[in-house]
């Protein structure tokens, strides 16, 4: 398309979008939509324990909403694919278990310790942030495996060895449910802040064109580090709360690659880079996943793999991304 025709196209399209005349309305509508989504989430999850004692379905839905949302911080906003995302989940679970069981600390402090442990490991791995895209993903996966090996080498007195840890005495599903609820709200708040703040703008600039961002004054390493720290805290907390909820921790399930895989699938199915993306994706696929998981456990992996391939080939920008592409006039209203 030549310059002229493109310009006329944009010119012609402009009168259609109300936001041109009233720009403040754009961000207003966007906040309203996002506010509505968050309210809906609160209303859906807050009263559940009042009605039923079978919290599992809703508990794990919150878990995946949180995992997918915080995965979006690194993948959608900073442009990294941390394939070893599960490492932080596992570290959180083990930190909680060890602090509670081995050191006898109360659960809330153990959870705070889990978040701190996740962030500390995230900082330790900060040098890998210098790596370009795919190499970062690969190295991150290797580091997750290394983390699992390190924990398996630690004395069984502390980590429970191959048997894992049983958190007997901490059993309180309702409290754990609300702990997950708070973590989810925390992740949503962090996402809201990220998308509005200057850090969010810097991150999206890096994602769009790293070198160009550098040339206009963005300190790429430092900016990415901040997003990274935020993104490591939430999976650690999630791992810790999940350990509290199930009262059991073992290496295989704490460092199961499926945790990364599902975070990716949910975030991508919705659309990376949009706040609502992971929420749409997790809501759409979680129920189906649960159904399959319950009835055909081996098929679960197979179907997950097929879904990833199909998404990448047919809907690479996710549900929300495809919508934004198809109806580009509405794109600016999507949070």
């Amino acid at each position: 398309m030549s310059d002229e025709t493109r310009e006329t196209r944009i010119e012609a399209q402009n009168p259609l979008s109300a936001s041109q005349k009233n720009p403040e309305k754009t961000s207003h509508i966007k906040s309203l939509i996002w506010g509505g989504v968050v309210t809906l989430i609160i209303l859906a999850f807050l009263p559940v324990p009042l009605f039923t004692t079978n919290l599992s379905f809703m508990f794990y839905m919150m878990l995946w909403l949180t995992m997918a949302t915080s995965f979006n911080f690194v993948a959608g906003m900073a442009g990294y694919m941390p394939f070893g995302y599960v490492a932080f989940y596992g570290i959180g679970a083990y930190a909680t278990g060890v602090l509670y069981k081995t050191f006898g600390l109360p659960i809330p402090i153990a959870l705070a310790g889990a978040a701190a442990a996740g962030v500390a490991i995230g900082l330790l791995l900060a040098p890998t942030l210098r790596l370009k895209g795919v190499y970062f993903g690969i190295v991150s996966l290797a580091l997750a495996m290394a983390m699992k090996l390190i924990i398996s080498l630690m004395p069984a007195k502390i980590t429970g060895g191959s048997l894992g840890l049983i958190l007997s005495g901490a059993n309180d599903p309702t409290m754990a449910y609300y702990a997950m609820f708070i973590v989810l709200l925390g992740a949503l708040a962090a996402g809201t802040w990220l998308s509005m703040s200057r850090l969010g703008i810097a991150l999206r600039a890096i994602r769009d064109d790293r070198e160009a961002a550098e040339v206009v004054g963005v300190n790429v390493v430092r900016t990415r580090l901040k997003a990274w720290v935020m993104a490591t805290m939430f999976p650690s907390l999630v791992g810790g709360v999940e350990a509290w909820y199930t009262n059991a921790i073992d290496l295989e399930s704490s460092f199961n690659l499926l945790v990364t895989a599902k975070s990716i699938v949910y975030a991508m199915a919705g659309g990376l880079g949009f706040l609502v993306g992971p929420i749409v994706g997790a809501s759409a696929l979680y129920g189906i996943d649960q159904l399959i998981w319950r009835h055909f456990p081996t098929l679960n992996l197979l179907i997950l793999g097929v879904v990833i391939i199909a998404l990448m080939l047919l809907l690479p920008r996710g549900i929300v991304g495809a919508f934004a592409q198809r109806f580009s006039r509405f794109r600016r209203f999507i949070p």
Binding site: M1, S2, D3, E4, R6, E7, I10, N14, S17, S19, Q20, P23, T26, R198, I201, A202, R204, A205, R207, D208, D209, E211, A212, A213, E214, V215, V216, G217, V218, N219, V220, G273, S328, R331, R332
Partner: protein, 235 residues
């Protein structure tokens, strides 16, 4: 004032810049001419820190730029555009400009005011909420220019600003560049192989050839310089 002294850049065994020296005085435009592969873009990449210079010195108002990362060079007041515009496609025009103002310690109102000023100047204000990828190639070049101008740079490096820009936008661009030294108070290094606009805009012109400075002087002197004529027309 930008001072480049004996700048050398080699890639493996290949010498891209073989000792370039030049100065860009305050409030002036230096045009840089040269064929493809003469080292123009390499020189820009060395000045703004994308490449590390092999040898030589680069300084802006006495502050050395050697060894500084691109974002630090930008903080020193050096803005730069690319031959193929590099905007942030999935961000609105306003957000594109906001990126350059992130570390300036400005309030949101100030950011909005400065952005509006420059978007008006490049005639893109009405598209300020559009995504940058919706712009035409020429408009993207204007956006890229506005994005460095909002930060109030001391020096801007423009790499082929007229390449792929339609005539009416080129006129707008020429107008903006022409008034930069006096109205904005910044100096310009204009790299191009479009002779006409370089002759028209530049206070001083440098001709590069195979990593060397072939000739330097005002437009008239350059046009008469036998070396330049031979390099461009002969051989």
């Amino acid at each position: 004032m930008l001072k480049v002294d004996q700048l050398v850049k080699t890639f493996g065994g290949m010498t891209a810049l073989a000792g370039i020296s030049l100065t860009v005085p305050d409030r002036s435009i230096l045009g840089v001419l040269g064929m493809n592969g003469s080292g123009k873009t390499t020189m820009l990449n060395c000045i703004n820190g994308i490449y590390e210079a092999t040898a030589g010195e680069i300084s802006l108002d006495g502050v050395s730029l050697i060894g500084k990362a691109p974002h630090a060079v930008f903080s020193e007041g050096v803005g730069r555009t690319f031959q193929v515009p590099r905007i942030f496609p999935q961000m609105s025009l306003l957000e594109n400009l906001a990126v350059a103002l992130l570390n300036k310690g400005l309030s949101n109102a100030q950011v909005a005011e400065i952005s509006a000023h420059w978007l008006n100047k490049v005639e893109l204000y009405r598209l300020r909420h559009n995504y940058a990828e919706e712009l035409s190639g020429g408009q993207q070049k204007l956006l890229e220019l506005a994005r460095i101008m909002v930060a109030n740079p001391k020096l801007v490096l423009l790499d082929e600003p007229f390449a792929g820009v339609n005539p009416s936008l080129a006129l707008l661009l020429i107008g903006i560049i022409r008034e930069m030294p006096q109205e904005v108070g910044c100096s310009v290094m204009l790299v191009s192989h479009d002779l006409t606009s370089v002759y028209e805009l530049s206070d001083n012109i440098l001709v590069m050839h195979e990593g060397h400075v072939l000739a330097e002087g005002n437009a008239e002197a350059i046009q008469k310089n036998p070396d330049v004529i031979e390099a461009y027309l002969g051989a």
